[in-house]
């Protein structure tokens, strides 16, 4: 059976999705990146290999997305490398063809994507602040010693959410500590955090944007019922959560790989499970001294062979390897 693999290497989680030719999900994996994207790719593929009978499947195309998309593309031999915005939009429009607004909250960034007729027409990402992202919830949950998986369920039981200033992550924390010392119940504080995050998101990311229904909420954070409720309450609109909400980026990458193979190029450059799982990939970085820019250049090698360079502004290193996938369309 022909199938397509989508890989989303994010700051916090690494996700893998395998779809068939009709776009049905055969398998999805949600793992933590733990700061090591190379190992995440290798472990993810090893797990895939275990769970499905690889001999029966033919990987016809691979797409990568997320902040580690270039790295993942080099390791696996991807056919498409796409930014997260496009990937998430494509996946949302696949499940909800009439979607107008996509709310996506990831580990380190949060996005709002506005679509018309299945095409993105505007988007926004959070700027320098982390107060509206999943990492913030992660940290506060750890502080309260509540597993992040239970966070949302507990928050949803709140009687009266406490008010917490969501403008800044650090000050939100001191606000929260203050409320704890005053003796407010934990659920109310958790819900207060959700409300603060939603306000921050709508004020920062959604600034000046027209939010219209249908709305889709995706990303790992969509598992949090507290946030789901807080969004519905604040917007006064219905929020849809797609079936594979946590891996929508990878889903989008797989759909884009399918589109690319069907329309543009007809064979994949996938390097095969065995090569990826068994190879010993090494990265190395150095400061290029050829000009005063002093770029930090990273190289990835497998044994003696250098697979890729990046990080140089002038592309002197990057172009020194005529990468086999120079046909690879990076957009």
């Amino acid at each position: 059976m022909n199938c397509y693999l989508g890989i989303d290497i994010g700051s916090v989680s690494s996700n893998f999705v395998l779809i068939d030719e009709k776009g049905r999900v055969l398998l999805d994996l949600y793992m933590r990146t733990h700061g090591n994207p190379i190992r995440a790719v290798q472990e993810g593929l090893a797990l895939l290999q275990e769970k499905v009978d690889v001999k029966e499947l033919v990987i016809s195309g691979v797409g990568t997305t997320g902040s580690g998309r270039y790295l993942a593309a080099v390791l696996t031999g991807a056919d498409v490398v796409k930014n997260e915005i496009t990937a998430h939009a494509v996946a949302a429009a696949f499940y909800y063809p009439h979607v107008r607004t996509v709310i996506e909250i990831g580990g380190q960034d949060s996005k709002m994507i506005l679509l018309k007729n299945g095409i993105v027409y505007d988007f926004a990402m959070n700027t320098v602040c982390a107060a509206g992202t999943g990492s913030f919830l992660d940290q506060q949950a750890a502080r309260l010693q509540i597993p992040i998986e239970q966070f949302g369920g507990l928050a949803a039981h709140a009687q009266q959410p406490v008010r917490i200033a969501g403008r800044c992550g650090v000050f939100a924390e001191s606000d929260m500590i203050h409320k704890q010392q005053m003796g407010y119940p934990t659920e109310d504080i958790l819900m207060g955090l959700c409300e603060a995050l939603v306000r921050n998101y709508l004020n920062n990311v959604g600034k000046g944007k027209k939010i219209e229904e249908p709305i889709v909420f995706q990303g790992g954070v969509a598992a949090n019922q507290g946030l789901h409720q807080a969004f519905e309450r604040n917007l006064g609109m219905k929020i849809n959560i797609p079936p594979y909400y946590a891996v929508m980026g990878a889903m989008g990458a797989a759909l884009l790989a399918r589109e690319h193979i069907e329309n543009v190029r007809h064979s994949t450059q996938f390097k095969g499970f065995d090569f990826i799982v068994d190879s010993d990939f090494q990265t190395q970085s150095f400061e290029c001294k050829s000009c005063p820019n002093l770029c930090e250049v990273v190289s990835i090698r497998c044994g003696d062979q250098i697979l890729a360079y990046w990080g140089d502004r002038c592309k002197r290193w990057e172009s020194s390897i005529k990468m086999k996938h120079s046909r690879l369309k990076v957009i």
Binding site: S67, K82, N83, E84, I85, T86, D109, N117, I119, V120, Y121, D122, F123, M125, T127, V128, G208, C291, P292, N293, L294, R313, C314, K315, R316, E318, S319, V330, I331
Partner: protein, 359 residues
């Protein structure tokens, strides 16, 4: 700023002075600047402070800085910089060029101070020579903006461009300057260009310093070119000098027309290039550009005013706009992702539109 150092070098070299050019903007420049400049000031102040410190370290004893007036903070920067550098214990002269809107007297006197014993006639021919270098650089910049997205050997094209700039820098006569530029442009033309494709066209709007200095905007023009996008900037330095320092004497100015275009969105001078940003947005939309990117240093007041107005222009004229702010971050990843996403969006809009037309 940007490649203008080539022209300034030519100008100052002819004077009876030894000129120390600040080294190109690097991480160290920014680190020095943000260490000593106020935290909430905008990037140009920080970068300049860094530039000046690096130049003073190399033995400079006089600093030439531009002044200005109006709502933008920049007009006051020369004085702040003088204060900061003096507090750091440097001793130097500071010459502040105020725009001649306030009268030519000061400008002439300052030029005389810098020029030393040089005669007017010589000064004029020097200025002409430097002006020609500036024009040649811009010709080449415009050529790379056009050919880079169309070229199939993009790295090669960038190399030709850089060599061309070096050649212009070295050139010693007016003829040689233009010869170098034309030759490089010819070489760019010959680099297997696809003339059959129509790349996306994006107008780059915003604040002058971030537009002209690639060191502060993560080489946005090159990045876009490498992604296959043709870029047109709202600010080229010759236009600015012509409009603001020479009162439109050297060439025909489009400024009035552009400012008219900003109506009815902005009717008042908000300082900096706020009005021009909006004016160019309208102009580029009329010319059928695919999208607009506004850039500026974080906290830039005139551009914030323009940013709040741009969504209306975008809606009225049906042209997507994205705003990027630059500050002392070191990671280009966020910028890259946003640019890729924006371009992808434009590409998909364009192809879905052409599908509709076909059907």
């Amino acid at each position: 700023m940007g490649n203008s150092y080539i022209a300034f070098k030519a100008l100052l070299k002819g004077l009876d002075l030894e000129v120390i050019l600040p080294p190109p903007i690097t991480q160290r420049t920014l680190a020095l600047g943000s260490k000593y400049a106020p935290e909430c000031a905008c990037l140009p102040l920080k970068t300049n402070v860094g530039n000046f410190i690096e130049a003073l370290e190399l033995g400079a004893d006089t600093i030439v800085m531009a002044g200005g007036w109006g709502p933008c903070r920049f007009g006051y920067y020369a004085q702040i910089q003088r204060g900061i550098l003096e507090d750091l214990g440097y001793s130097f002269n500071m010459v502040v060029f105020e725009p001649p809107d306030t009268g030519f007297d000061d400008l002439i006197e300052q030029a005389r101070f810098l020029g030393g014993g040089i005669r007017f006639k010589e000064a004029l021919s020097l200025f002409k020579f430097a002006w020609n270098k500036l024009i040649a650089c811009e010709k080449l910049e415009k050529a790379i903006e056009f050919y880079l997205p169309r070229s199939e050997e993009k790295e090669q094209a960038l190399a030709v461009y850089r060599q061309g700039l070096q050649a212009i820098d070295m050139a010693e006569s007016r003829e040689e300057v233009h010869f170098c530029a034309d030759q490089s442009i010819q070489r760019l033309k010959n680099l297997s260009c696809r003339n059959d494709i129509q790349p996306l066209k994006i107008g780059l709007l915003g604040e002058i310093f971030t537009i002209l200095e690639p060191g502060t905007n993560y080489y946005i023009c090159e990045t876009l070119g490498l992604l296959g996008v043709e870029v047109k900037r709202s600010i080229y330095l010759t236009d600015w000098i012509n409009d603001h320092l020479l009162a439109g004497l050297v060439k025909k100015s489009r400024r009035k027309k552009i400012i008219k275009r900003a109506r009815p969105y902005i009717n008042y001078w908000v300082g900096g290039h706020g009005r021009e940003t909006v004016g160019y947005a309208v102009e580029y939309a009329r010319r059928g550009y695919d999208g607009l990117i506004q850039i500026g240093p974080l906290t830039c007041m005139p551009e914030i005013v323009a940013q709040t107005v741009l969504p209306r222009v975008s809606e009225d004229k049906g042209i997507p706009v994205m705003t990027l702010w630059f500050d002392e971050q070191s990671s280009a990843a966020g910028i890259q992702t946003r640019l890729e996403a924006f371009i992808d969006m434009l590409q998909r809009q364009k192809s879905s539109y052409s599908r509709e037309v076909e059907a």
